[in-house]
């Protein structure tokens, strides 16, 4: 495990502002923006099957390279295929408990199976898109005379040019994120094959699902007995579509959409499924993770004088991180217990438990 964590740490660039193995020209970035995860697959990083098991096939139509600032391109040029820092991670886990055997087997999950979970997004590229468009929206609020209780809610009427430009830029960032995870998935497979001396056929590391949790999408939902198109904002919330939904791949359609819920690095993560109830009550959405209880600052203060990596090792989890500060910020006590969070969404019926995974090896930025 120690070797594996070390190899993954070496092969997947991580840390604040980490730079990847890819050096992209602006033209490359434009291709990524248009093609998302497909760009990675076309460049030999991954399989077509990976795209079938990715939300929206890993690409949103309508991403427009022309609405992206030079600064976003600059920040994105070296960060494709990088993990980043903060709560982003790569974990080697094992399936500790199964709650629904039939559903788990449909998803290819079995007891004590080893799994890899990747949590990262659009890196500095998406961050810059958000920064740029918050400015645009502040102007739009004045232009359209929108009354807001908090200026941080800056927005524009959906049909306005400002809103449409943001949508096209946000889609570009979403596609950048899908390409990013696809590259990392590929390098994980390579690193593990190399370390364990396995052939691609023996590896058996197929993608269960790749899902977004910070995104706005136009979707159809039932409102007062009528199907309507709505723009659904999910910020730290995961899509959780029910069995039979047409956006699901054929093999998952009987059970519903897989939902990945990462917990903190010391406890557990969950695999859930979307439900009809989510569709009725929450626009097909559920939770996304544990949620902090300590601010980053408070966590660093509480971790003073402690060796978090050693505490984790004593608990049987090997951790490797680019920065000591990240480990303090990300220690278990900084988060709510993920099991409590999952219990609520399960009991409320807006998703259902399939499996719980326990971390064995953690790479943090």
């Amino acid at each position: 495990m120690r070797d594996l964590v070390e190899v993954l740490y070496r092969e997947i660039p991580s840390g604040v502002g980490s730079k990847g193995k890819l050096r992209l020209s602006k033209e490359d970035e434009k291709r990524i923006i248009r093609k998302g995860a497909l760009w990675a697959v076309e460049n030999g990083m991954g399989e077509k099957e990976d795209l079938d098991h990715t939300e929206s096939g890993g690409v949103l139509e309508g991403a427009d390279p022309a609405v992206i600032s030079d600064k976003a391109y600059e920040r994105g040029a070296a960060q494709q295929g990088t993990l980043g820092s903060g709560n982003h991670f790569l974990e080697i886990q094992y399936v500790e408990e199964i709650y629904d055997e039939a559903a788990a087997s449909r998803l290819g999950i079995f007891p004590e199976q080893v799994t890899i979970m990747i949590h990262t997004g659009s890196r500095g590229f998406g961050h810059q898109v958000c920064t740029d468009y918050l400015e645009v929206m502040e102007r739009a609020v004045r232009k359209y005379g929108i009354k807001l209780p908090d200026r941080e809610l800056a927005c524009a009427p959906f049909n306005s040019p400002e809103a449409q430009d943001y949508m096209a830029a946000m889609k570009a960032a979403a596609n950048y994120a899908w390409a990013n995870r696809q590259c990392i998935t590929h390098w994980c497979r390579e690193a593990i094959m190399k370390t364990l001396g396995l052939s691609p056929g023996d590896l058996g590391l197929s993608l269960i699902y790749d899902v977004a949790h910070n995104i706005a999408k136009v979707e159809e939902h039932m409102v007062e007995g009528r199907i309507k198109s709505l723009v659904v904002h999910r910020k730290g919330a995961t899509r959780a579509f029910p069995p039979g939904h047409r956006e699901l791949p054929d093999d998952y359609r009987p059970v519903g959409q897989p939902v990945l819920i990462p917990g903190d690095m010391g406890r557990a993560s969950y695999l859930l499924l979307g439900t009809e109830r989510a569709m009725e009550e929450t626009f097909g959405s559920t939770c996304h993770g544990a949620g902090r209880v300590l601010s980053r600052h408070q966590a660093i203060r509480q971790a003073k004088g402690r060796a978090i990596w050693r505490e984790m090792e004593d608990a049987g989890i090997i951790v490797r991180s680019a920065g000591k500060k990240t480990l303090a910020e990300e220690m278990s006590e900084a988060y709510k217990d993920i099991s409590n969070v999952v219990e609520v969404v399960h009991n409320a019926g807006i998703s259902r438990k399939v499996a719980r995974m326990r971390p064995m090896g953690v790479v943090k930025g």
Binding site: P149, L230, G236, F283, S285, V293, K336, V341, A348
Partner: protein, 97 residues
């Protein structure tokens, strides 16, 4: 319990109309009594603030992992009508996708 909120059932709390001025729909937070201990007043206010936005449909929602974010709470879900509604970068956040 945050003053002014109302428990609907063991897994949901309502942020009623009027919690802040101009709410068009109620807020609903999916949370049980265990996690409600961690619920911040600022997050509840953000759920209510989102409910004032034009074209919001049904309710301003939050998941049990809710915490305070930029404008919109993290763990928030909000859907808007395409004709009357808006789109907001704060409703997606900085870490897009």
């Amino acid at each position: 319990m945050i003053e002014g909120t109302k428990r609907i059932d063991s897994n949901r709390v309502e942020v009623p109309l009027g919690f802040v001025d101009g709410m068009r729909v109620p807020g609903i937070i999916y949370i049980d009594s265990v996690l409600e201990r961690y619920l911040e007043g600022a997050s509840v206010r953000q759920v209510a603030n989102v409910a004032t936005l034009p074209g919001i449909v049904r309710a301003s929602l939050a998941m049990p992992d809710v915490h305070t974010g930029y404008g919109f709470s993290i763990g928030g879900v909000a859907a808007f009508d395409l004709q009357e509604g808006i789109i907001s970068p704060g409703g997606v956040g900085y870490d897009i996708n």
